[in-house]
């Protein structure tokens, strides 16, 4: 398990990284390396050069910008997990981060790395898709913004051009008074890639009626999927929610692998999405209404 020979460089800026990337079509960016390094060790990935962007200062930040929070691509997952802004303004991301592997993995893994890698079972892409976020990609031609729904194209496939470097992820911030969020998943063991994951964020008004609702499932389909379920305008009840989720999930094209059949994924997607939704609702209900 030694990787094939490669060269290594550590550019000082994104511009420099993009130039290096453009110069060698078999070069790869590396940040936390939590997927790429094992793939290289098994010689399933054989880049000629690694361009290490993990220490580029302009890529590590968490900042509020208008109605969303921008996170630099090389921000470590563990940093985001401990970040007060994330905890306060991005409850769904905060709930999702602890599900990523184990803490040793989150110490190295980055926010952008997980998004750019686009594993169907990955947690951060699901949060981005569920909340309808966006990413910014830099190329030698400039910067381009992609909505999450246009960005994740399939398993390990994104809209990033060959000479592009993901630089930012934008997560929408909800400003409602009563917000609840839940992230949950099922896997064979704690920390494994999820067979299915589910994310839910809801906002309720003072009467407990749903005013905003974001739902998504991961692991089940080729890319993280925002569920088209509108529950706004009424209190969320289990029966109605189950019906609407069933309809939304029924139409999805489930993946298959030796670990879980499409039927399992469909069943688990419904169960987990419903659980996530109800848990998010209950969390929001527990928050005090304006009197």
């Amino acid at each position: 398990m030694k990787s094939a020979p490669f060269t290594y460089c550590r550019p000082a800026s994104v511009t420099e990284a993009c130039a290096l990337l453009a110069a060698d079509e078999d070069a790869r960016l590396i940040a936390g390396g939590q997927t790429l390094v094992p793939m290289m060790a098994m010689r399933l990935a054989r880049p000629t050069a690694l361009i290490d962007i993990a220490r580029i200062p302009e890529l590590a930040f968490v900042r509020r910008e208008g109605d969303h929070i921008e996170i630099g691509a090389a921000t470590r997952q563990a940093f985001a997990e401990a970040n007060a802004t994330v905890a306060l303004d991005l409850p769904l991301l905060a709930r999702a981060l602890p599900w990523i592997g184990h803490s040793a993995i989150r110490n190295r893994g980055t926010i952008g790395g997980s998004i750019a890698n686009a594993d169907p079972a990955a947690e951060i892409p699901l949060v981005l898709a569920t909340l309808g976020g966006a990413v910014v990609v830099q190329t030698p031609r400039g910067r381009e913004r992609f909505a999450a729904r246009d960005f994740f194209l399939g398993p390990m496939t994104t809209a990033i051009p060959a000479d592009g470097c993901l630089v930012e992820a934008h997560f929408p911030v909800w400003t409602h008074q009563r917000i609840g969020a839940c992230f949950t998943e099922i896997s064979a063991r704690h920390g494994d890639f999820a067979y299915v994951s589910a994310a839910a964020q809801v906002a309720l008004d003072d009467n407990g009626s749903c005013v905003a609702c974001a739902l998504g499932v991961g692991g089940a389909t080729a890319q993280p999927t925002q569920l088209a379920v509108d529950l706004t305008g009424a209190r969320i009840n289990e029966t109605t929610a189950r019906e609407k989720l069933s309809v939304a999930i029924e139409t999805l094209d489930m993946m298959t692998d030796p670990h879980a059949s499409p039927a399992y994924r469909k069943r688990a997607a419904l169960a987990l999405a419903l659980r996530a939704l109800l848990a998010a609702r209950d969390e929001a209900l527990a928050k005090r209404a304006r009197t």
């Binding site: 094939a4 099922i186 067979y195």
Partner: protein, 798 residues
């Protein structure tokens, strides 16, 4: 025999001395050992389940700077003897590298030696091999058919072993029974997958004509096998036993690796090290465990008393023979488990297939057999409508029946099974546990309780060898210990094996300390190399507490006799009249201190008894208690001497939609006789249960129909982690063995031998109301969910 003796150090709360170096990261593992100018090996694996090797062209590999050589199977076959087979199957020949044909995906076809492992891997990709795919067989039932493609055409079929035993009046007992039922259960292919993969460093000294071998080894007759394969005298192979082994439980056999590395070291005249990487370990290390289909017919009375059993066990040995078929033989020594089953028909079949080679795994085939027996007992309980524990009680051997002769010829040494069951039931508050399960069910969860009772045969002899291979007449299976008290009176004990976490240094220090009445902390334990060692058979078959502990104690007793002889000479009394206490001698008013005796032995020949040797040294080579006779013609034999007992109770809760089982409570009652070190036994038991949970729920080497291995790394071969293992409560009981020096029995396989049966039983209890039964391990989360969903669809919901 029933009450354990009082001990000074045995069974007391003493630290495990090895733990200190391991905890601070100062163990000496094979990867820590390097030689000057050492070269590294990488292997070229076959991607085919079966293929003829048309040609091998290494020229592109050899052209790479830093590459020192490439060898293939043809070269090795010309220079070496085939590796040892357990059975008399001379046409199932196995060399470290494939010769002429490859027989499983991952099999090593060529070995590349280079300055670094990375260069060796680069070069391995440049070895150009032309294959011609051949028909293959993956499934054991398919391989057993006479029409199947033989993995070894020269052998004529895939059948390595096909033997029927009839022990007792099976037909009569079936005819006289009220009922009978049949079941089939399947044990998936798993193993002990150690943290440390196998590694070996070989150095050839042409001037001394000695091959020095350091290896991460747990293997009986290791030096012998290397010597035979490499056509060296056995005193030309020096195995170093002072290498810490980072996990094994059977699988660290590495003989093909060692012969290959030894050959390369001689050929290149450079030290050569082969450290398996994880892929090599998992797909090519020849370290998979049993994969077994059991078909059972059981005859029983309406009260649940089991009279007789017919068991067919079909084992998938993989592509070569090795010792794997013997794993069908060892369980013959406990073929009725802890039960009074009067007669047994046993059909043992081992077949070759195009899978990786099976090797010894913890319990040597006993855990699969225990799983089958316990599944059978659960089915009998269900059939007669009697509580599962009550059925077990009615069948368990009673404490007053020991020594108990089972139909297959083994005498169980001792046991008090009913008491252990009662202690466990009291500990868990059985009525409350059942009520809790039912409460959980009322909450809409699927809850179940699993129960398993089983034995751990221990003190490993090799009676299965002559039983299954008539050409093998081995009845000696010794272990040795040597004690030397040096000129300053300090105690040195030599043991002659590597250890893979069993705590042998603690074991022998405790045993010698107990005998000599000296604090074990003052006793040094060393491991001479194989050229300086007494004979032994390595830590297999849960034997070392019994055999190494026994040899150490008996060597110490011999030493005490020398002390007493010196005392008797000084005191002018009979040897028997010398009192030995705390290392000092006395007779009436006369006394000799420890150091006085040391001085006499080492420096005062004039004070030694006439004819006595100077110095204070004693060795003991111990034969296993019992098992010295060859098998009877009808296949009865005394297998292992001692029998530990375990009784498991598990409460599982299954998420009815997602299928994930959650082990809410785990209790084991454990009786391994006199415990020598409680921490070691506890660690063995907890680890064994974790391993058993893995076998029950997670771990499997999966092959697809094309013979491609689907679980080559820890991505897909799922070991349980701390998150999957519940807190385990251990209920102790001690029924000493009458056959051992302290009353100890084995515990190296404890937990693993019953956990798969218990966990499986718990899941089946949880889903019983749906008409579902899981009869194949591992039972995966997704399979549970799929089965529940299907049952609900068919309207079997209660």
């Amino acid at each position: 025999m029933n009450a354990p003796r009082a001990f000074r150090y045995i069974s007391t709360d003493r630290r495990v001395r090895e733990d200190r170096r391991f905890v601070v990261g100062k163990g000496k593992y094979i990867a820590d050992i390097a030689a000057e100018a050492m070269l590294h090996v990488a292997l070229v694996p076959s991607q085919h389940a079966a293929a003829r090797i048309v040609s091998i062209d290494a020229s592109r590999a050899l052209a790479l700077p830093g590459v020192h050589g490439v060898v293939d199977g043809a070269e090795l076959a010309a220079a070496c003897e085939p590796l040892m087979n357990g059975l008399d199957t001379p046409h199932v020949q196995r060399y470290p590298l494939a010769v002429g044909a490859t027989r499983y995906m991952g099999e090593w076809v060529a070995a590349v030696v280079a300055e670094t492992r990375a260069i060796a891997e680069d070069a391995a990709e440049r070895v150009d091999i032309v294959y011609e795919a051949l028909p293959h067989v993956i499934d054991a039932e398919e391989a057993y058919k006479s029409s199947s493609t033989p993995v070894h055409p020269a052998h004529g079929s895939n059948v390595l072993l096909d033997r029927v035993f009839n022990w007792g009046d099976v037909d009569e007992h079936f005819a006289a029974s009220d009922s009978q039922l049949s079941l089939r259960v399947t044990w998936g292919r798993n193993a002990t997958v150690p943290i440390e993969t196998f590694g070996v460093l070989a150095q050839w000294d042409p001037w001394g004509a000695v091959l020095d071998v350091n290896a991460s080894i747990q293997m009986p007759k290791y030096a012998d096998q290397i010597a035979r394969a490499l056509r060296l005298p056995m005193n030309g192979v020096r195995v170093h036993y002072d290498v810490d082994v980072g996990g094994s439980y059977g699988v660290k056999r590495g003989i093909k690796h060692s012969v290959l590395t030894g050959y390369l070291a001689r050929k290149l005249n450079r030290p050569v090290r082969l450290l398996e990487d994880r892929l090599e370990n998992m797909r090519s290390g020849d370290a998979h465990g049993p994969e077994r289909i059991f078909d059972i017919d059981v005859a029983f009375n309406s009260d649940g008393v089991i009279n007789s059993m017919k068991m067919r066990a079909l084992d998938n040995a993989g592509a070569y023979a090795g010792r794997a078929p013997f794993q069908l033989g060892k369980p013959i020594g406990a073929i009725v488990g802890p039960y009074r089953i009067k007669s047994v028909h046993y059909h043992a079949i081992s077949v070759t297939t195009n899978k990786a080679v099976e090797e010894a795994v913890r319990g040597f085939g006993q855990s699969p057999t225990n799983y089958a027996i316990e599944a059978m007992v659960d089915r009998v309980a269900e059939a007669v409508g009697v509580d599962r524990i009550e059925v077990r009680r009615r069948n368990l051997i009673r404490s007053d029946e020991f020594p108990y002769l089972i139909p297959s010829g083994t005498r169980y040494d001792s046991g008090d099974y009913h008491t252990v069951v009662d202690k466990v039931l009291t500990h868990v508050n059985w009525p409350e546990l059942v009520a809790e399960r039912d409460r959980l069910r009322d909450e809409g969860l699927m809850a179940g309780i699993g129960v398993a009772a089983c034995l751990e045969p221990s003190g490993g002899n090799s009676s299965f060898e002559p039983l299954l291979n008539p050409k093998n007449t081995t009845t000696t299976w010794m272990e040795s210990c040597r004690i030397n008290i040096d000129a300053l009176g300090d105690i040195n004990v030599a043991i002659h094996t590597t250890s893979s976490g069993q705590g042998h240094e603690t074991l022998v220090a405790t045993a010698v300390g107990e005998a000599l009445e000296i604090d074990p902390a003052r006793i040094r334990v060393t491991r001479p190399d194989s050229l300086s060692s007494l004979p032994g058979n390595s830590p297999v078959g849960s034997r070392m507490a019994i055999m190494l502990g026994g040899a150490a104690f008996k060597a110490a007793e011999k030493l005490k006799d020398k002390f007493r002889a010196i005392g008797a000479h000084r005191f002018g009394c009979a040897v028997d009249a010398v009192n030995y206490c705390d290392g000092n001698l006395s007779h009436g008013e006369q006394s000799l201190k420890w150091l006085d005796v040391v001085a006499i032995a080492h420096r005062h020949f004039h004070e030694l008894p006439p004819g006595a040797e100077p110095g204070l040294e004693a060795s003991f080579i111990m034969q296993t208690p019992t098992g010295e006779a060859l098998p009877t013609p009808d296949g009865r034999v005394q297998m292992y001497p001692c029998h530990s007992f375990e009784f498991h109770i598990v409460l599982v809760v299954i998420d009815p939609e997602l299928g994930k089982p959650d082990l809410r409570r785990y209790v084991i009652g454990h009786d391994c006789g006199v415990v020598i070190n409680p921490h070691i036994v506890k660690g063995m038991t907890l680890g064994g249960i974790a391993h058993g949970i893995g076998a029950a729920l997670l771990e499997e080497f999966v092959y697809d129909a094309d013979g491609q291995m689907m679980s080559q790394s820890f991505m897909d071969y799922l070991l349980p982690s701390a998150s999957e293992i519940p807190h385990v409560e251990i209920v102790h009981h001690c029924t000493p063995s009458p056959l051992t020096v302290f009353g100890q029995k084995g515990s190296g396989e404890s937990g693993y031998l019953g956990a798969p049966a218990a966990v499986s039983g718990a899941i089946n209890d949880a889903v019983r109301a749906l008409g579902i039964r899981f009869e194949k391990l591992p039972i995966r989360t997704t399979a549970i969910s799929d089965a529940i969903a299907e049952a609900k669809l068919k309207g079997r919901l209660p």
